[in-house]
């Protein structure tokens, strides 16, 4: 909202130009991205932060990956030492995978990472599952007809918004992160940062739209701006609906605020929160548990 106001004021009279910024010296961090789900082994990828103005391409990103770390996950006295794993379909080509402990709803998992530079620890939980009530869709033609200004085009009746209904349990403090993919897509997408908290709707039943994210990472997406976020008639949509704990939620919330450009150029930028504790060196990122439920919806 605020960005809109500023844009209106600023666009009318302003001018802008590229300048050189002499940024302060950067500090080195090891960035953790790890998660554990029911019936799956733990997954952790480790990377370093990059100088701000360095150009970003896949080679650079690959060169930031941290190899040779000792990564362990512990639950109830059992220790799982994660093994190196290569995944060429994934943005992070190299990561660590568990072999012993599979996630279970209601349990807590401790992560420990040791390299020559850092010792990092984190803890997460897989909260109780939060099921969806139903999924349905509406075409863009329905919206155009409702607005009443224009006649819907043929394309309008091919594009659909996916709706979900969710009934929140009476006890407050439920958080959800959603993913979706369609047809032959390999990657789960969480574009538009679909995270939900029951801060406003505790104990209520709510209807919302889950927008289609572009298939992430490696593959260029040719979707035009006008068609962003819409599924299409004939799509087979898979939805991953995951309960998460509050630190996990805060990570994605702050990440969304920081990357989405919170809009106010005068405000202090949002600092992305983390649940990684550094015993040595510096760490960032997230170790999160997902209480995952999967749904399939075919747009007919």
């Amino acid at each position: 909202m605020r960005i809109l106001l500023f844009v209106l004021v600023v666009l009318s009279i302003s001018c802008e130009r590229v300048i050189e910024l002499d940024l302060p010296e950067q500090r080195e961090y090891v960035v953790v991205h790890g998660h554990i789900e029911p019936d799956s082994f733990a997954y952790v990828s480790l990377s370093r932060n990059s100088p701000y103005f360095n150009p970003v391409d896949l080679q650079t990103v690959a060169s930031l990956l941290v190899q040779g770390a000792l990564v362990t996950v512990e639950e109830g006295g059992t220790i799982d030492t994660l093994r190196p794993d290569f995944n060429f379909q994934h943005f992070t080509l190299f990561n660590y995978r568990g072999t012993k402990i599979k996630g279970e709803v209601g349990k807590r998992y401790k992560l420990r990472i040791e390299t020559s530079e850092v010792i990092l620890e984190a803890e997460t939980s897989i909260p109780a599952l939060l099921p969806l009530d139903s999924l349905w869709h509406r075409t863009r033609a329905d919206f155009v007809r409702e607005a009443g200004q224009f006649q819907p085009t043929r394309r309008d009746s091919e594009l659909v918004s996916l709706y979900f209904r969710y009934s929140d349990p009476p006890v407050a403090g439920n958080y959800v992160r959603a993913f979706s993919r369609r047809n032959t897509e390999l990657q789960w997408s969480s574009d538009f940062n679909p995270i939900y908290s029951d801060d406003l709707v505790n104990g209520q039943s709510v209807d919302f739209i889950l927008r289609r994210g572009k298939e992430a990472y490696l593959f260029a997406d040719s979707t035009t701006f006008e068609e962003f976020g819409y599924f299409e008639v004939g799509d087979t949509i898979e939805v991953k609906w995951c309960s998460i704990d509050r630190p996990h939620y805060l990570f994605w919330l702050t990440l969304g605020a920081a990357t989405g450009g919170s809009g106010n150029p005068f405000a202090t930028p949002t600092v992305v929160s983390t649940n990684i504790r550094a015993l040595k060196g510096r760490g960032l990122g997230i170790w999160g548990g997902y209480g995952t439920l999967r749904y399939q919806y075919i747009v007919r």
């Binding site: 605020r2 001018c15 702050t254 929160s273």
Partner: protein, 792 residues
């Protein structure tokens, strides 16, 4: 609750008793008292009333009242006020005399263009420090952005006062925050003094009489803020004849009408201002345009009436109402977006003269600031409402026991009502609202006494003591968490409406001492302690209407500020030049900021997002002013540091405050060429604002995330700008209709000053070509403007 108040009352009476002591055992004394007003009946505030033989005198109070108690004798009384011809009368004082001065307005072209309505040597003679009185006529003669005369922008040209940024009316005094300035319009607090996101202030120059800024050494009569006082009084209206004036400018047009209701007894003034770009543009926007119906405008209304019941009693009623309205409509998507916000104030005052030495004013005041947002699309609706209101009753006494003393005491009670963000959202049949508290309330009480005392010819003291007391009452929910992420709640206390929750209070001593070295120079020292019970939760520092006022609560402690200042004042060339050097040191406690990782917006309890810390500021201010002659003006320079330190931000390391400006300089000149032309110019230079940039970036799930560095770790480029203006009075002026043209050029050499810097990604990761660049946005290049002002 009021136990400390009792001991304070004892102190107060001792103080007052001391004041009366000098009266005992003196020769026969009589009192000369009355009002100083303009011919049209406007009160002249802080006019000088000098007894020539004694080289001593006083100044008029906020209602133009003066009182001098002298030994029996014959005296020459000299009354002066900027922009008016000095009046001199001889008085044989062998009884108590009441005498009202009516000063003749000097032609604008003949007046000295100086800031202060000062006796020539008042700068070095009285104890006040860091105080500036601005006459609106001078403000009007300086260059203004788009021809919009703005009192707040003139204030920013004074040393020690910093602007928030290009074209912004927000001001920061000596390293203090924007919420620490007490902005009063006829005694009513104005919570957000800005229109159009800070580009224009809410003060319509045509409705303003006098403006006083106190940036250091706040007297005990003022409280509730720890940085400065900006006291603006509305005009009373002409009590002799009907007058209408107005102006047609590029941004807004103004219209003011005033006149007597009962001649010499009662007058009124009504003044309005509105921007009209929306009205002019509307017919040219086609009816089927997508955004038809979208608009932005603001307006102000000022109204005031007064009635004189007798020589002893007078009643004033004044009101201000202003709104900004932003509407956005998109016909295609059916989106409706509406943001109205603004201030409203009402003041009712009763002046009563108990005797020719004792003046009383009783005021009832209400002020309100409200901000709303509503978004509607199809079945979805979101509305947010926030605001702050207060109702105040106060009484002030001015007592003039003899010419060496000017005593003031009084009491004030305020009921604060805060509405933190109240959110209502609707999606189809679902209605959502934030749980928790929808209003917060508090009582604030203060009593004070002060004496301006000429101890000897060399030493003058302004000593005062204020005691303030604050009680928060329910409803309220207090929450305490074990961790920073607010996961584990370890305490929750719920309070019902009317419950007493917490009480704060404290003494606020104020001391100013002046020591005269010789007739031309003096040294002054000031020390003050101030308490402030309300806070502004600002994510921007840019005086946006979305900034939220919050009260002190069980969790949020009141702000406390200490300030020490020392100055050397010297006048040169028979008071033609004034110079001063001031150094100051300030320490601020219980400052608030948002914790790292707080996402601004929807919060059931915004307090949980605050962290608490301290502030420190110090610096030097140099000021040279030429008061008289054809060429007048001043140069002000400030060298300053301002810091903040929070245990929960950056591991407790201190960081520069956003408006930490190492250097800040203003040059203001005005040259009166002849009776028709007056030229003026200003030049400003300031170190760039501090802002926060990322140090590095990292990647998660293919997203690029900025790793934010230390707070305010970089500076924008230095800011500098020159403006010029010319005022032309046509030779042919109608018998009744007077008019003038104001030509102005803002940013003469079109410097592209930084407004903000943002980081822009180009290319995409998928295309293997992502790069980031820093872009600087500048707002105003060279902008000429012309305004036509009329009066009849």
């Amino acid at each position: 609750m009021f136990v400390p108040a009792r001991s304070f009352l004892v102190t107060l009476f001792v103080l007052l008793f001391c004041c009366f002591l000098p009266q005992l055992g003196f020769a026969q004394k009589f009192t000369l008292s009355g009002y100083v007003r303009s011919e049209s009946g406007e009160s002249l505030i802080a006019a000088n009333v000098l007894v020539k033989e004694l080289k001593r005198g006083g100044i008029t109070n906020e209602y133009g009242f003066y009182s001098l108690t002298l030994d029996k004798g014959v005296y020459q009384i000299v009354v002066s006020y900027l922009g008016f011809e000095t009046a001199v009368i001889e008085i044989r004082l062998d009884k108590n005399i009441q005498y009202n001065f009516k000063l003749k307005s000097a032609a604008l072209t003949k007046q000295e263009v100086v800031v202060e309505a000062a006796r020539a040597d008042q700068n070095t003679r009285d104890a006040s420090m860091g105080r500036t009185d601005l006459n609106i006529e001078q403000v009007k003669s300086l260059p203004a952005l788009l021809g919009e005369v703005d009192i707040l922008k003139t204030i920013q040209l004074l040393p020690g006062v910093q602007t928030a940024g290009e074209g912004n009316t927000g001001f920061y005094v000596r390293g203090g925050g924007p919420d620490q300035n007490l902005i009063l319009l006829d005694e009513a607090v104005v919570y957000n003094a800005a229109h159009l996101f800070g580009f224009f202030s809410v003060f319509n120059a045509d409705a303003i009489n006098n403006t006083t800024l106190i940036k250091g050494g706040m007297p005990a009569e003022y409280g509730g803020r720890i940085s400065s006082v900006l006291n603006i009084s509305m005009r009373d209206g002409n009590n002799q004849q009907y007058k209408t004036e107005g102006g047609i400018g590029l941004i807004s047009s103004r219209f003011t009408t005033e006149g007597p209701i009962v001649k010499d007894k009662s007058s009124f003034i009504l003044s309005g201002r509105r921007t009209y770009a929306d009205v002019l543009a509307d017919p040219f926007i086609p009816a089927d345009a997508i955004a038809k119906g979208s608009k932005y405008y603001f307006y102000d209304l000022n109204a005031k009436v007064n009635y004189k019941f007798s020589d002893r009693d007078r009643v004033y009623a004044s009101a201000y109402f202003g709104r900004d309205v932003f509407l956005f409509r998109n016909r295609e998507s059916g989106l409706n977006f509406e943001i109205p916000w603004g201030n409203a104030t009402t003041t009712i005052r009763w002046n009563h003269l108990f005797s020719n030495k004792l003046f009383m004013n009783v005021s009832g005041i209400y002020s309100d600031f409200n901000f709303g947002t509503a978004v509607e699309q199809s079945t979805f609706r979101f509305a947010l409402n926030s605001g702050v209101r207060n109702a105040t009753a106060k009484v002030d006494f001015d007592y003039f026991p003899d010419i060496r003393h000017q005593v003031k005491w009084g009491a004030q009670y305020t009921y604060h009502m805060f509405t933190p963000s109240v959110v209502e959202a609707r999606s189809g049949n679902n209605v959502f609202s934030l749980p928790g508290v929808t209003d917060l309330n508090a009582h604030e009480l203060a009593i004070y006494a002060q004496d301006q005392w000429d101890v000897t010819d060399r030493i003058q003291v302004n000593a005062g003591l204020r005691y303030s007391n604050y009680t928060q009452t329910g409803p309220y929910i207090f929450e305490r968490f074990a961790d920073r992420d607010l996961i584990e709640k370890i305490e929750e206390r719920r309070f019902n409406r009317g419950d007493r929750i917490v009480n704060y209070g404290g003494l606020e001593p104020r001391l100013l001492v002046r020591y005269g070295i010789d007739s031309k120079s003096s040294v002054k020292f000031g020390a003050t302690r101030n308490m402030q019970y309300i806070h502004l939760a600002s994510s921007s520092g840019n005086a946006l209407p979305t900034d939220l006022w919050v009260p002190s609560t069980l969790k949020v402690k009141p702000q406390i500020g200490y300030q020490y200042s020392l100055g050397y004042f010297r006048n040169l060339k028979e008071n033609q030049y004034e110079t001063s050097v001031e150094v100051y040191y300030k320490k601020l406690f219980n400052q608030i900021d948002f914790r790292d990782g707080s996402v601004n917006g929807l919060n059931a309890n915004i307090e949980n997002d605050f962290v608490f810390g301290t502030g420190e500021a110090y610096g030097t201010e140099l000021f040279i002013k030429k008061r008289t002659g054809k060429l007048t003006g001043w140069i002000g320079y400030t060298l300053a540091w301002a810091w903040r330190q929070f245990p929960d931000i950056m591991d407790g390391r201190r960081f520069p405050y956003k408006f930490d400006r190492r250097h800040d300089m203003s040059i203001v000149t005005s040259y009166e060429a002849n009776e028709r032309w007056t030229f003026s110019g200003t030049f400003v230079f300031a170190t760039g604002n501090a802002f926060t940039v990322p140090e590095s970036r990292y990647f998660i799930e293919g997203r690029i995330i900025d790793q934010i560095g230390d707070r305010n770790n970089l500076r924008l480029a230095n800011y500098h700008r020159m403006d010029v203006a010319a005022v032309y009075k046509p030779r042919k002026q109608g018998k009744r209709l007077k008019n003038e043209w104001v030509f102005a050029i803002y940013n003469v050499y079109s410097r592209l000053n930084p407004y903000f810097v943002y980081l822009n990604n180009t290319g995409s990761l998928q295309q293997q070509s992502l790069q980031v660049e820093a872009r600087q946005v500048s707002l105003f290049p060279i902008i000429p403007s012309v305004t036509w002002n009329f009066k009849f």
